[in-house]
């Protein structure tokens, strides 16, 4: 009976998964499927025009580049360490192959795990750095690995490299053709994984973090943890490519995993399209064509092709960067959409159910913050109760925004304590406070430039998810899919609250300033908060926008939220606030109910 129930459940889950896949199937997916099919039959069609070992090397290069796409495309981090990760996978796999009798696939997997370890360490080291420093830091790592291989012949095998024994691969004779087909299949799977992750909570959070760190942090996106994860995943795939490539080459070559490989992989990703699943693979094909061009130029000039190849690659990269990142795959997709626009997506967001509201009181006692000799906040205490809007007013420099930052966790207080209900928040991070029910919007109307309106709200709902982890996303488990539906409904409800439900599928960049303000309020609401901290929502708003905002705050109050409003617009304060706290030189100068009331 139990087995029968399991079978029924499994059948239902599979049917659901197929239905979901069919619903989300697009022209791009068809094109990608055709491309993979063509790639699989390429060795038989090309008939020796390109040698199978060259094709197999290209396939593993595409796999490593697709792995790098995780870092560059999803996290927006320009990693120049992928060559080092590929090399780590290659040499660890080579040593395991030489020293043990383990199966070839397991040796490659061990290499990938070792690379993921190095990737985790690298990600941890650069987790909070900006793009330029990440590029420099990872470039140094690549050099470090290359120098270590050169300096340690016992590790690298010296000039002759580390010769590896040949072992059967998945029960097959490991010919270059077998390696090629394996490389294509793994690259296809990795690209599929990339698509799944990009659409899931992991990808949305990473995209948000890469497009506006401050706004993402305010919504509780754990940026540093995600970056480390992206590095680790990217390194794992790179290490797997290295661990398999070394078996194709039958030698781990210390000269093959230097900075040039890292550079080429990054060029492939940027040229093909970092955000497109098959962009890195296309980039690798473009690099292959460049290699042919370099050979032709070399033959014309009577010098080695290797002198032209890096130069041509750098020129191509420069062209892509100067044309605003006009990479091949995104350009092709844009061109295709001119002829065949994407059909409108069937909306599954009609059931606009708001999440159950949380009603908690926020209490802050004697908060203090000093910047050197300046006392920005000095002994501020406040209480934010459910169904109440508290306005924090005061002249510029009186400490209003600092109070918000202390409450949200963006700044640690020098003194004082913060409680939400019975839970002390004082030592919690911003992300932990958001999960606890305290969220903040920023002053300057930041938004995530490449996300749609709906995706902004989804970033907020990610804070409430239990089954949105990377593995569940990749496998798309029934729990993940069920939670997805709930998250989409909650995100849609948040957009309805702020009057943006009709704009759900528009790019956020098309909204007005006031629309963006409301959008970030919606994203904050999607985290299902008990307390909402809002910084100058009325700044620059037109009269009709002010009316909308008033209606929103009134509705939120009715829904039971505790709201702290930092405002300069006293008319707006009078219209929405229940009590007014006036700050002066970091101290509470007055605490009164709204005179209107």
């Amino acid at each position: 009976m139990s087995a029968q129930a399991t079978a029924v459940r499994t059948g239902t889950a599979v049917r659901e998964a197929v239905a979901t896949a069919r619903q989300s199937w697009t022209d791009s997916a068809t094109a990608a499927g055709v491309a993979v099919g063509l790639a699989v039959i390429a060795p038989f069609v090309l008939g020796g025009l390109i040698a199978n070992d060259s094709l197999a090397s290209g396939a593993y290069l595409a796999l490593a580049a697709t792995g790098l796409g995780l870092c560059v495309g999803l996290a927006g981090v320009p990693s120049l360490a992928q060559g080092a990760f590929v090399g780590t996978g290659a040499f660890v796999a080579a040593h395991v192959l030489r020293d043990t009798q383990l199966p070839a696939e397991l040796c490659a997997l061990i290499g990938a795990i070792a690379a993921a370890g190095l990737g985790t360490a690298a990600g941890f080291a650069v987790r909070s750095l900006d793009s330029v420093r990440v590029a420099v830091g990872t470039w140094l790592l690549t050099w470090l690995v290359a120098l270590a291989l050169g300096a340690l012949p016992w590790l690298s095998g010296g000039a002759q490299g580390l010769v590896v024994p040949t072992r059967r691969l998945f029960g097959l004779n490991p010919t270059p053709l077998v390696h090629y087909e394996l490389g294509v299949v793994l690259t296809g799977l990795c690209a599929l994984g990339l698509v799944a992750l990009r659409r899931g909570p992991f990808g949305l959070d990473l995209a948000a973090a890469s497009q506006h760190r401050g706004a993402a942090a305010a919504l509780g996106v754990p940026m540093e943890r995600l970056r480390v994860a992206a590095f680790a995943a990217s390194a794992f795939v790179g290490g797997l490519a290295g661990g398999l490539a070394v078996q194709l080459d039958i030698v781990a070559d210390p000269t093959a995993y230097g900075p040039l490989l890292s550079f080429e992989l990054l060029v492939a990703v940027l040229v093909g399209g970092a955000a497109a699943a098959f962009g890195p693979s296309v980039g690798v094909i473009v690099l292959g064509l460049i290699s042919l061009a370099a050979r032709a130029l070399g033959a014309l000039a009577g010098v080695s092709a290797s002198r032209f190849q890096p130069m041509l690659e750098a020129l191509l990269l420069l062209a892509v960067l100067t044309t605003g990142g006009y990479a091949f795959v995104p350009a092709a997709i844009r061109a295709a959409r001119r002829f065949r626009p994407a059909p409108p997506r069937a909306s599954r967001r009609t059931a606009a159910a708001a999440p159950p509201s949380r009603r908690e009181t926020l209490r802050a006692h004697d908060l203090a913050k000093h910047f050197g000799a300046v006392s920005a906040v000095d002994g501020v205490s406040l209480e934010l109760q459910p169904r109440t809007v508290t306005a924090l007013v005061g002249p510029n420099g009186s400490g209003k925004t600092t109070v918000l930052r202390l409450l949200s966790g963006a700044l640690p207080p020098d003194d004082g304590a913060i409680y939400l209900g019975r839970q002390e928040l004082t030592s919690l991070t911003t992300a932990e406070r958001v999960r606890a029910g305290l969220v903040r919007t920023l002053q300057s109307r930041p938004f995530f430039g490449e996300l749609s309106v709906f995706e902004h709200a989804l970033v907020g709902t990610n804070r409430t998810r239990r089954y949105g982890g990377t593995v569940r996303t990749l496998v798309s488990t029934p729990l993940f899919r069920a939670e997805n539906r709930i998250a989409e409904a909650h995100a849609f409800a948040a957009l309805e609250t702020v009057g943006l439900a009709r704009e759900a599928d528009r790019p956020a960049s098309e909204l007005t300033g006031s629309g963006r303000e409301r959008l970030m309020i919606a994203a904050a609401l999607a985290t299902n908060p008990a307390v909402l901290l809002v910084d100058e929502p009325s700044a620059g708003a037109a009269p009709e926008d002010l009316e909308l905002l008033k209606a929103i705050f009134t509705r939120l109050k009715t829904d039971g939220l505790a709201i702290l409003l930092v405002e300069h617009n006293l008319a707006f304060v009078r219209a929405v606030a229940d009590q007014v706290l006036a700050l002066e030189l970091g101290r509470v100068a007055s605490r009164e109910p709204n005179p209107r009331l």
């Binding site: 090397s57 039958i250 000269t255």
Partner: protein
Amino acid sequence: MRATATVLVALSLVAAGCGHSSSASKQQTILVVVDAPFSQSPYIGNTIGNGVRLAAEQLNAQTLSAGGANYRLRVLRLDNALSPAKAVADTRRALREHATAIVTDGTGVDATWRLANSKHIPICIAYQGGGGLVNPQTRPNVFRIAPTDHGLAFRLAEYLVPKRLKIALLADDSDYGQEGKAALADAFRTLPKSVAARITLPSSASDLAPQVLQARRSGATALLVWAQAPALAKTIVAARSAGWSVPIYTTPAGEDPFVRQQLADHPSWVDGLTFASGRMTAELGPAPWATFEAAYETAFGTTNVGVKSHGRRVIAPPDYAMYPYDFVNLLAAAVQQAKGTNPAKVLAALNQVSTHGANGDERGFNERNHEGVVDDDVYFARFSHMVFRPVRDDPLSSTLPQINQVR
């Protein structure tokens, strides 16, 4: 119209088929693949490539017949860029193109020999002398025509120890230096009193004065440097600029034009530099070498060192080109003995044939020995006024004539 096209296509196919069969019956190809570091070490790559090409052109100028067919040699140059992985890819290509033999500097042979051996394709190493690369029992398809590290190290020990010198052994941190260090350790194992110090030279350092000073403080009365040309030049500069006139001995790196170019402003610092290398002339006298050198210069011109001696231009003799040249001649002999290009038969025949090499020495292999240059072929030469001549205090060198190096 359609019928005409069909007839034309059919006729052209027939013509192509006839042409192929006719040429196949008359002339077949012996493909020799040169896998060398043309991009990373052009001097070495081109020397090996030119040696092979010269031999192929000379053989093609005659008629190479075997088993009733005529053969023409074709040379395919592939750049391994000093990368073992590229060497593997090049070997795979050589096998796809049905190469008869592969001539290499030695890069990646640890990985490539097995691939080549699966098709019975011989590999000849024409530059690297590392121990373990050649072993007729375990690597039956690997041959070498070049001085071995072992031969150089033992000849150096044999030459220096009777001079009662206290020798500082300096090896750079490149693979070349480290392999040499191991060979020297082996050669001086039973002669510890002759060794004053063992020092590693950092290749990337701009100044080797600290290492030279360390050697001087160790009480060394001679330096034996096993390093690539740049590190060797820096060692000489460091010693001489400190006023230390210690005798300096080295490997074939000493005759690399780079060393003399680096010391062109101080020709006297090069004077006395002594190096070990494979001899260019044999018991037959200098005539064979002169013939080879003239043919080489006619085909490829002279290799200018970039310095002058007594106002005349100094050239580098193509001594390392004679090794691949000799191998191609051996290969042709093996094809003739095998009566064709059947790989297994050619490989077996390589163990049986011999030829007179470019320097007049007899070159050949057998089933127990795949080394084409014996230890006694290693000689010593000393620089004076930017050209070198064989030393007079070594019995195997003193009888050798000086090769003209000025034009």
